[in-house]
Amino acid sequence: MTAKLNLTLKVWRQVHAKAKGEFKTYKVHDISPDMSFLEMLDELNNELIRKGEEPVAFDHDCREGICGTCGMMINGQAHGPERLTTTCQLHMRKFKNGDTIVIEPWRARAFPVLRDLVVDRGSFDRIQQAGGYTSINVGNAPDGNSVPIPKTQADPAFASATCLGCGACVAACKNASAMLFVGAKVSQFALLPQGQPERAQRALSMVAQMDEEAFGNCTNTYECEAACPVGISVDNIARLNREYIRASVCSNVMP
């Protein structure tokens, strides 16, 4: 059993989307190293409520690293210092007694702050709505084994499909670009036979929506890949570029 931690937290507080926010400093005591980062924030919030101060708002849900709801900048890093880890799976044993931790919301024009550490990631949903699917109605599906998909093709499609939609890629990118997110979704379908019928339209529509949401441009610094809690590779961005060129130059679909 490691010793308990006493920490100083500098947390971004902002009452609503249009309010001016500021950092507030809080102290938390006797934090168990076995706690998750969010449990540490729970502890802070319970203390704040007891003192009559409004608790810090932060998004979270499954707390097992799969739903993609949680996410914050912890000491300047998306989801904190551990690679391949969501905020809810970050444990306090990664910090030292006496540490000061700066906690900020994701920052991007396409992710407006709603309150404290909570941002609106509706832009991601709208990008998905623009084409992140195959257009097949229920009842039309052929037998699952009718089209063989070799494991060597299914596995990379799966790897792209594991994106949580948490937004860490945008948050960590110096340009607030959403290319890794869009690249992952476009790749999943570009790699599978099911995705072929709408392949060109999908790439064009999703990129157009991405641009409309005012994300930044990719400048290939690959910070997104390092920040991604599930390790989505920047190969997906190259594939997105390729798909977009192919769709705009070679296909007969109009952008």
């Binding site: 707390r63 097992e64 799969i66 709801t69 609106d120 699952g144 494991k151 799966f158 594991t162 099911q194």
Partner: protein, 637 residues
């Protein structure tokens, strides 16, 4: 209250076809005149919203999360069952049906389960067509694994993230309909009440969680796909936001709540480390395919697990259930772990854990092979516990994971309130007293893709539904009721956090309505919950205002409902004087400590009817008949 299950006539394997042929249809041009509300966007909700919109209805979908893609179906790991018999190992629709009824300890409806089994194959086809990247063999065909409680390989999977991939598939289908304008999505909305007009469900009241505004929405049918109530126990494998509020408010509007006591305890969860813990994490039971469960033979053996020689280990599942071994159903595995720990053989600092050992599998198949199968689960374990599961055995302990009980529905998935349909985990229908692994995803998607689109249409076509808009007085009245309740919570201004009430409720339920229950304990639990509920309304402290983004207020509202719900849960367990599946009453057990059913007196569904604030609810009964399957004492020995 009359419970008419509306089970179609005819032989078991023809009932669903028969039903479909008899159901009334809405003509294609008329479909656009009907509005349908779907609450919850997990597998059941998203698939229902997408399929109903594909048919041409106007759908409004609601979820409390920031995006429909985050519903907790996403956390399901292991897989989804389907009777495809791709492995040529003797699987069939009948066998899946039989094993589900048997696994459910003969407390489910035969007709429902058979329908579930018969559409299971279509689900796989649909998901593959959506681009769900299921695991494949090198030759390109779909891969399968085996799961607890069955003797064939029928589980389709996408590594340890099957729920995620299936949900993203359904979310994609729904997105397509959003883009086409047929589904309107309302995220960050919490359903606070059901609006009834002339005894029919005609709308809902929701609170916009960002602005705090109350909104009313009218429709011709309401589909509740809001998941299970396991978070009543506080420590559970559910998402933190999962709650019973929507279902509970429907109960109070007249929907019967059935079989609450059937709660599933999942055997392979990561043990509790301390009081700070906010949730429990499950690891897929597929781990039991290769892991061996054991405890030391000598109680209080303090040696590290790798130092305990085989002769001093008790592989208790293999010892007690030689034919199924580590693959016994979840309820059996969970109770066996509890039994060992209660007898003093538990391991770890809390002594509330057993070992799940992969050393034999690693020796046999190599680290790489184990990594390929379970890599993400091992990583998850290492992250949470800071221990390396490749080097020493995992420690596991059961935790609340799924609830088989839920709102009562008939064969058409319609509750006792006309026009209110309940899908997925939120209903009680298909799993009986215990759910088999990889069947939850199957049921959610079966309900949403293949059942509700027909039965909701039947409701719309066969009933005369007056034109009702949100200007109808019932909407305003219901909204004010919901608002009053929220304001009441804010006004208490006591001393305790809602979180502390939730924790205390959870401890009470776990201690008395957990893995093993008895009459005295259940009575005590009801008493304690009542006291706690009274204290809540006098001493809870919620800061902030109702007209803002206020997570503390959201949580307090959910806890308030859990405090009412918890008592009914205990009451249901108290009145079911038998043991079956996830409901284990210590008074009713076999000499080997297994469940002892009482088919003479309890071969029925218990559906609770609300009678008013402070009044005792009525226990209605729907008898279960078994024509195809003869109820036997479940045996996995």
């Amino acid at each position: 209250m009359k419970l008419d299950a509306r089970i179609p006539s005819g032989p078991l394997d023809a009932k669903w076809d028969h039903c479909k042929n008899e159901m009334k249809l809405v003509s294609p041009t008329n479909k656009r005149k009907f509005d349908i509300i779907v609450v919850g966007t997990g597998l059941a909700g998203a698939s229902a919203a997408a399929s109903l919109a594909e048919l041409g209805y106007n759908v409004k979908a609601f979820c409390f999360q920031d995006s429909p893609r985050r519903a907790h179906s996403i956390a399901a790991q292991g897989g989804i069952n389907a009777a495809k018999n791709y492995q040529n190992d003797g699987d069939s629709v009948y066998r899946l049906f039989y094993e589900t009824v048997k696994g459910g300890d003969f407390r489910s409806r035969e007709a429902n389960v058979y329908r579930l089994a018969s559409v299971s194959g279509n689900i796989i086809d649909q998901c593959v067509a959506q681009g769900v990247p299921f695991a494949r063999e090198y030759g390109g065909t779909l891969a399968n694994r085996t799961f607890g409680g069955v003797q064939v390989s029928r589980t389709f999977y996408a590594r340890g993230q099957t729920g995620q991939q299936l949900l993203l598939g359904a979310y994609g289908s729904m997105n397509r309909q959003i883009q086409l304008g047929r589904v309107k999505m309302f995220p960050r909305r919490e359903m606070l009440d059901l609006v009834m007009v002339d005894g029919v469900a005609r709308g809902i009241v929701v609170r916009n969680l960002v602005t705090g505004e109350y909104e009313t929405h009218a429709a011709h049918a309401v589909l509740l796909c809001t998941g299970g109530y396991g978070n009543a126990y506080y420590l559970a494998t559910y998402a933190k936001g999962s709650n019973v509020t929507a279902a509970w408010r429907c109960y109070k509007r007249g929907a019967a709540f059935a079989n609450l006591c059937y709660t599933q305890i999942h055997p392979t969860c990561i043990p509790v480390t301390g009081d700070h813990q906010s949730k429990l994490t499950l690891m897929s039971e597929s781990l039991r395919n290769d892991g061996r469960v054991w405890v030391p033979k000598n109680p209080g053996d303090l040696r590290s697990p790798n130092e305990v020689p085989d002769t001093d280990r008790d592989y208790y599942l293999e010892r007690r259930y030689p034919s199924y071994g580590n693959m016994v159903p979840r309820d059996v595995a969970s109770r066996a772990a509890k039994e060992r720990c209660d007898s003093g053989y538990g391991v770890g600092s809390s002594a509330k854990a057993v070992y799940l050992d992969f050393s034999d599998a690693i020796k046999r198949d190599g680290v790489a092979s184990i990594k390929a199968k379970y890599g993400n689960l091992f990583d998850m374990y290492a992250k949470i516990t800071d221990e390396d599961p490749y080097a020493s055995p995992m420690r596991i302990y059961p935790a609340i994971h799924y609830t088989m009980g839920g709102l009562w529905v008939d064969y058409n998935l319609e509750s006792t309130i006309p026009g209110l349909f309940v899908l997925g985990e939120a209903n009680f229908s298909d799993h009986g007293a215990n759910r088999l692994g990889a069947s939850a995803l199957m049921q959610g998607l079966a309900d949403g893709y293949f059942v509700a689109p027909y039965t909701v249409g039947h409701h719309l076509a066969s009933r005369k539904l007056a034109k009702v808009g949100t200007d109808h007085p019932a909407f305003k009245e219901t909204m004010y009721n919901a608002k009053d309740r929220v304001e009441k919570i804010l006004k208490v201004n006591g001393k305790r956090t809602s979180d502390s009430f939730h924790r205390e409720l959870g401890i009470t339920l776990w201690d008395y309505v957990g893995m093993a229950r008895n009459e005295a304990g259940l009575k005590k639990a009801m008493e304690k919950i009542r006291t706690l509920r009274d204290e809540f309304w006098q001493n809870v402290k919620v800061l902030g205002t109702g007209d803002s983004f206020n997570q503390n207020l959201e949580h307090a509202g959910r806890v308030a409902d859990f405090l009412e719900f918890g008592e009914l849960l205990a009451r249901d367990a108290l009145t079911r004087n038998e043991s079956c599946g996830g409901h284990f009453r210590e008074e009713y057990q076999t000499p080997d400590n297994d469940t002892l059913r009482d088919d003479t007196n309890f071969q029925h569904v218990a559906a609770w009817e609300y009678t008013g604030e402070g009044k005792e609810p009525i226990r209605n009964v729907e008898p279960l008949t078994f024509d195809e399957v003869k109820p036997i004492q479940r045996s996995y020995v």
